[in-house]
């Protein structure tokens, strides 16, 4: 099916790969269906694009791709809501925030991971409790000199 998006124009998506969010992305209760869109030069980022709201999309990534150690537990309640039977069916990623002023200050939301059961495409934004993970964890250390600049 064809969906309209603000960032990528009109794109074709496979209906079998649409995630049904059983709990919303917090602040975006109106969007229940999302797809992952590949748009860029590498495998570090994807976009989580709302199917029914062209303007709603979030860049997402995985902490492991930035060598950030990360682990969390999913309460039984949510395991049940998602119908998760096996850890192999679990796809998790995190929303990234890139400030307009300086991409070096980009952060990843480790406090509210997105979890998807790829077996039935049910997903949600989990809210972790009892953890020190932050909603805005820096992707790069604050020391700017430690970032290796790479040309386009």
């Amino acid at each position: 099916m064809k969906i309209e998006t603000v960032r990528f124009g009109s794109i074709e998506v496979d209906e079998k790969l649409i995630f049904e969010f059983v709990r919303p992305i917090i602040g975006y209760d109106e969007a229940h269906k999302f797809v992952l869109v590949e748009n860029g030069q590498n495998n570090l980022f994807r976009w989580l694009q709302a199917v029914d709201a062209p303007e709603i999309a979030f860049p997402v990534s995985m902490p492991s791709l930035f060598n950030i150690e990360y682990q969390f537990e999913i309460d039984d309640e949510y395991v049940e809501i998602l119908g998760l039977n096996s850890q192999n069916d679990l796809l998790t990623f995190n929303i990234v925030n890139i400030p307009n002023s300086n991409p070096k200050d980009s952060t990843i939301n480790l406090l509210g991971p997105i979890i998807i059961n790829v077996n039935n495409n049910k997903g949600m934004q989990l809210v972790l409790s009892g953890t020190d993970y932050q909603a805005r964890q820096r992707l790069f250390p604050k020391d700017v000199s430690s970032i290796k600049e790479v040309g386009v």
């Binding site: 992952l36 590498n42 495998n43 406090l111 509210g112 790829v118 992707l139």
Partner: protein, 99 residues
Amino acid sequence: MLVLSRKNGQKIIINEDIEILVIECSQNIVKLGISAPRDVKVYREEVYREIKYANIKSNETTSELVSQLENLIPKENKTEDAKSVQWNKKTKIIKKKND
């Protein structure tokens, strides 16, 4: 705002299907037990606000900003096939249509 006083072990009932139990109240901490139907979302306020703020900021991101961020990342991080495997785990990824 409705203000209620409750003792340890007493409850508040909201809408007939939400129960809030004062498990323990001492010094500066109130421990509450909340029983609610599944579709009722319960969050700690500050956590809810933090995540909501991060989500809203993220939704303001443009493709250009993602490109700028990508350019900050060392090349060796970009090319590993293993990284795409993590994404592709069972789901195929939808590619942007070139037209």
